[in-house]
């Protein structure tokens, strides 16, 4: 019951497309140093996972930054035909392959780039001599709120996240840095767009596991119901459900990314 209605809310988040606009500088490239630690992922057997120290972009990659990338590396410009690497919808919110666009409905240069595939997000980070964060890295840094590195015991923190999940996505998207900044100095982890992670495809849909039997049941309704009192798991559940529905070529309007790197 609970699962169903929340997923509908997720669905409502999506679907609208952002329109285009002019290039500009929106670039905060600075990275935050994140001290490694342990966290208990939603999936798995309840054992904490060790995450090594790493660095992560404070801000999401913007349209302007991604524009610089496709100008420098033309093979990642939008093409006539969708492909394995750049699926249907790739950069469709831009006015053209080399034009973000202008006008009230246009994408803002300083807004997070969306409509990017996992392949393209990876190629961008590689171009910046970085990489995508791992799922565990992302979840670790996303545990923090404004004042605490681990806000998992604060119901208000989770309520805020769930409230965001339930709100329709603004169109066009607002600039990066406009929603939240946690104690690490990392912005917009909750509140602007969903984010690609390197191992998004480490999350399974239960239907797929039929042949193998047992795993990951706790991820779906059984798990969500068992822990329905725990809003923390509920927010994480929605993120995992979202990731489990992705394919690497997908380029959709509410999914962006930021880059990470090993600890300096």
């Amino acid at each position: 019951m609970r699962c169903g209605s929340a997923l509908l809310a997720v669905a409502a988040l999506v679907g609208c497309a952002v329109q285009a606009s002019p290039p500009g500088e929106g670039a905060k490239t600075a990275m935050a140093a994140i001290e490694g630690g342990r966290y208990v992922p939603l999936y798995g057997d309840g054992e904490p996972v060790e995450v090594a120290s790493f660095r992560i972009d404070r801000g999401l990659v913007t349209n302007a930054q991604f524009f610089d990338f496709v100008r420098a590396v033309p093979r990642w410009q939008r093409a006539e035909e969708p492909s394995l690497l750049m699926g249907e919808g790739y950069l469709r919110h831009w006015a053209g392959p080399l034009e973000i666009g202008s006008g009230a409905k246009a994408a803002r240069p300083d807004a997070p780039v969306t409509h990017v595939s996992w392949f393209a997000a990876r190629a961008y980070c590689d171009w910046r001599e970085k990489r995508l964060p791992s799922l565990d890295e992302w979840e670790l840094v996303a545990l923090a709120d404004e004042s605490s590195r681990d806000a998992t015991d604060d119901p208000a923190f989770h309520q805020k996240i769930l409230d965001w999940y339930a709100r329709p996505r603004p169109d066009p998207l607002p600039p990066v840095g406009s929603t939240s900044r946690n104690v690490w100095g990392v912005e917009d982890l909750h509140g602007l767009v969903w984010e690609w992670v390197e191992d998004f495809n480490s999350v399974f849909v239960t239907g797929e596991s039929r042949a193998d039997g047992t795993f990951d049941r706790q991820l779906y309704c059984a798990g969500a119901a068992a822990t329905a009192s725990d809003a923390r798991n509920y927010a994480a559940f929605l993120r995992y459900a979202m990731r489990s529905s992705l394919q690497a070529g997908y380029a959709v309007g509410n999914l962006g990314f930021r880059c990470a790197a090993d600890a300096a």
Binding site: C3, G4, L7, L8, V10, A11, L13, V14, G15, G44, A79, E80, E81, P82, S83, L84, L85, G87, E88, G89, W118, F119, R122, R131, E198, D199, F200, N201, S202, V203, F204, V205, T206, G207, E208, S209, A211, D212, F215, D216, R217, Y220, C221, A222, A224, A241, M242, S244, S245, L246, Q247, A248, Y250, V252, N254
Partner: protein, 237 residues
């Protein structure tokens, strides 16, 4: 429980739009490309390799290493049909079954004079080094027609993502992974997927036979209608 799984899938569909007939689009594009190519009459233009179709996994450029220690790009698998799975050699349960399923496919298509290759790509770069792959091939009796490949983690993740394979290391020893055998045409486009273990290989075999009957040449590729009928085209879930 069931209902929620359906809801998750529905949410995914709404989120990302109905998948639609992407494979078909690719085929149109690809025919266009080939038409343009031959239309030039092939005179003095240097013989540039025909561009890869938009759906080709041979667009992935990361280097892999064979069990003979040779470095290759996935594109070098091109020019023949390939039957490909991702496994790890320490796997005790699913992977031997996948290899068994591939052998069964091989048996059923019979001798193709090398027009069909079989590829195992390792999910486990930490333990499947070249020597381990070679030993596994030897022990398992995978000789001519088989290739075993390994690559760094990032390339493994990339190939899995391209094929729609999900996997996760769950312990020092084991991975959870999709049980999926992909059939690639000579251009590297996935034309058929066999999902699960111990599956009746008829659909897979007929997808391969169809390509063999049509000449199995890199170009022109078979029209969309010939792709493994009834097979999930782009999403095994």
């Amino acid at each position: 429980m069931r209902r929620t799984t359906a809801a998750v899938l529905a949410a995914g569909a709404l989120l990302f739009g109905a998948p639609g007939a992407r494979g078909q689009d690719h085929d149109d594009a690809q025919h266009g490309a080939h038409g343009g190519h031959s239309g030039h009459g092939g005179e003095e233009t240097e013989i540039a390799p025909a561009p890869l179709p938009p759906g080709s996994i041979y667009q992935l450029e990361s280097p892999w290493t064979t069990s003979e220690g040779r470095e290759i790009r996935l594109g070098e698998l091109g020019g023949r049909i390939q039957v490909l799975a991702m496994v790890y050699t320490h796997c005790e349960h699913a992977c031997p079954l996948i290899v068994g399923d591939m052998r069964r496919i091989r048996r059923e298509i019979g001798d193709t004079e090398g027009r069909v290759g079989f590829v195992l790509a390792s999910l486990d770069p930490a333990r499947d080094d070249v020597a381990r792959l070679a030993a596994f091939a030897e022990k398992t009796g995978l000789a001519s027609g088989w290739q075993l490949l390994r690559a760094p983690e990032s390339s493994v993740r990339e190939l899995a993502a391209a094929l729609g394979i999900r996997y996760r290391r769950v312990s020092a020893e084991d991975f959870l992974h999709s049980n999926l055998i992909s059939v690639l045409d000579p251009d590297g486009v996935v034309v058929h997927r066999q999902v699960g273990l111990g599956v009746d290989p008829d659909a897979t075999v007929s997808a391969i036979r169809t390509m063999l009957d049509e000449g199995s040449q890199p170009a022109p590729r078979p029209p969309p209608g010939e792709m493994g009928e009834g097979a999930p085209e782009r999403d095994e879930r």
